[in-house]
Every structure is written in structure tokens, then in C-alpha cells.
Amino acid sequence: MTNILIVCTNQPIAATIARLIDKMEDWQASVALSLNDALEHCYAKTYDVILIGSGIGQEHEDVLKLHIEKLKTETPIVKHYGGGSGLLYAEIYQALAKK
């Protein structure tokens, strides 16, 4: 199972992204609607990819990167663009290919 964490403060967009991920066989989405929520998710579970969606600024992204470095999970953190269908799968495939 490929576990993907979506970090996005826009709940409807996060839900759309999660629905699209869950449509794919062996992919499972989790949603964090804030930085603190994301940090807690990463303590509780190791993710294969973390997608940074809308509403998450560079400062919060850097905090999350530092957190992942400390956890030594080597989870790739990638910016998600577009808010759903068009680019999502390519972004995830690319992130998984670089692991």
C-alpha cells in the first residue's frame, strides 16, 4: 500500500485530492488540514509521499521538512499544483520514482 499524506488547508480541495488518490489501486490518502495536524500524522505513521497543497506556505513546508529529517523516514515532500485531477498522478509517480 502506498500511503500519501495531503497537507492542505482548503478542506474541499483536500477532499477532492483524497478521493482521486483513493480511486487508485494500492494508494491510500490521508488528509492534514494544518501544519500541526501534519506533524501528528507523521509521528503516527510513515508516509511514502507528502503532498503540499494550497494554504501551506514555505515556512510551514520547511518546518515539515525538518520534522521528516528528524524522523529519518526519507519521505519525499512535493508541492501539489492544480488542486486535483490534472497533475496529481504525475506528481505522485515522479515522487515515487525518486525514492
Binding site: I13, T16, Q58, Y81, G82, G83
Partner: protein, 237 residues
């Protein structure tokens, strides 16, 4: 020395949803080709055909500059910013999705298809306040580059959050013009809508895409009467 890439029309990704036929110059939705992800900040170039009376139901976007250029027919647009508008051939629409926007697009003409280009450019600033604009573009000028998009609100055409410039060209056969790139580090992706052209001697036919970078200018010569779109974008962003 200039570097180039040619994407011939028949190598594009294709999707047929019945009501929507789309050709993807770059990886999009179910089409994934790791060799065709983007050209610099240009991420999506979809050549869409929407059946009469059909369209895209409400769906979200964020953090992307989304440009639509109708080629035939019209699209009715509604979005969460409160915009209700119809865009038709001869116009250009731009949406900065920023923190998030929902929209729907339908072909209001039940009898005829709408054909349009959907272009996505990575923004140079994330999480901006969403915005929408549409304008009429100059469809009469021939044998000149006609600017339809830039980074500047007070320049010709629409504007976006990126150092990008788009120009349309409608050339009579055997017309030659030099295009000078606006910014160091930018490249240009030329998409031919009708006819055939040569870009620095390379044949580029209808619906082919040709990218050129590591240069500050290139020459376009029309082999036939031709229409094309030049999308100048940063190669690093």
C-alpha cells in the same frame, strides 16, 4: 547553442471521454509520460474538443495559472468567485487559482462542438487570492506577433503570476519574422494551430509542438498560411 525539442502531433497523449476528446502535449490525468512532464513553467497544453451541450462539472483548482483559448465555439464559465461568463473564439480567459477556486465550463451550443486550448503555467507565487479575467484578442493582424499574455497588468493581453509572454501569429505563406525572447533564461514552446512553419529551419506542422531554449531569439518562417501560438516561459522557476 540553442537546444530544441519537437513533439509531433501524433505523439501526444489522447483521452476520449465521449463528450470530451483531448490531446495532451504533456502528462495529464491518466496520460503519464515521464519524458513529457513540462516545458519549463509550461505544465499543461491540452487541445480539447467538447461535444455540444456538454462540459466540465464543478471542480476545484489551486496554485496554477490557467489559460483557456477557444478556437471554435464557446464555453460558459461559472466559478466560486461569482463570475458567470461566456468565452468564445477570439477571446482569452485567465484564472489564477491561488488558494483555491471552483468552476464549471459548458459548451452552450447543443448543436456544435467547442474547441479550445487549455494551458496551465506554474505560478511564481503560491497561495495568491484567486482572480479571473477575460479579454478579446486581436484576431485580424497578420504577419506580426500579437501579444495576448504577459506578467504585467498594464501590458497587452491578460496577465499572470509568472514571467511568461504568449503571442499569436497569423502568417501568410513565406512570411519570416524573428522572435526575441523577453527574459534571459526563458524558452519558447511553439504550438501550430493551422498550416506549417519552420522554426530556425525545423519543420513544425499542424498541432506539433516545438520547444527552443538557451537562445535569445529564433526565426519563424511560414511554409503555408499558418496560425500558431508562442508560449515563452521561464525554464527554471
Amino acid at each position: 547553442m540553442a537546444q530544441t525539442v519537437l513533439h509531433t502531433a501524433n505523439t501526444r497523449g489522447a483521452a476520449d471521454h465521449g463528450w470530451l476528446k483531448s490531446f495532451h502535449s504533456f502528462s495529464f490525468a491518466g496520460y503519464y509520460n515521464p519524458e513529457r512532464i513540462n516545458f519549463g513553467a509550461l505544465r499543461v497544453l491540452n487541445d480539447d474538443f467538447v461535444t455540444g451541450g456538454m462540459g466540465f462539472g464543478e471542480h476545484p483548482h489551486d496554485n496554477m495559472e490557467i489559460i483557456s483559448i477557444p478556437l471554435e465555439g464557446a464555453l460558459q464559465h461559472k466559478d466560486s468567485l461569482g463570475t458567470t461568463a461566456t468565452i468564445k473564439s477570439g477571446e482569452i480567459q485567465v484564472m489564477s487559482a491561488g488558494t483555491g477556486v471552483y468552476h464549471s465550463e459548458y459548451n452552450p451550443d447543443a448543436a456544435n462542438p467547442a474547441k479550445f486550448l487549455q494551458i496551465w503555467v506554474f505560478p511564481n507565487k503560491r497561495n495568491v487570492t484567486p482572480r479571473y479575467d477575460q479579454i478579446t484578442i486581436d484576431a485580424t493582424t497578420r504577419n506580426e506577433f500579437v501579444q495576448i499574455l504577459s506578467p504585467n497588468a498594464d501590458d497587452a493581453g491578460v496577465w499572470i503570476y509568472q514571467d511568461a509572454w504568449f503571442n499569436m501569429g497569423r502568417f501568410d505563406a513565406a512570411t519570416a519574422k524573428t522572435y526575441n525572447l523577453h527574459k534571459e533564461g526563458n524558452g519558447a514552446y511553439i504550438f501550430v494551430l493551422k498550416g506549417s512553419i519552420k522554426v530556425d529551419g525545423q519543420n513544425v506542422d499542424t498541432r506539433d509542438g516545438f520547444g527552443i531554449w538557451d537562445t535569445d531569439k529564433f526565426e519563424i518562417t511560414s511554409s503555408t498560411d499558418a496560425e500558431f501560438l508562442i508560449m515563452e516561459v521561464p525554464m527554471k522557476f
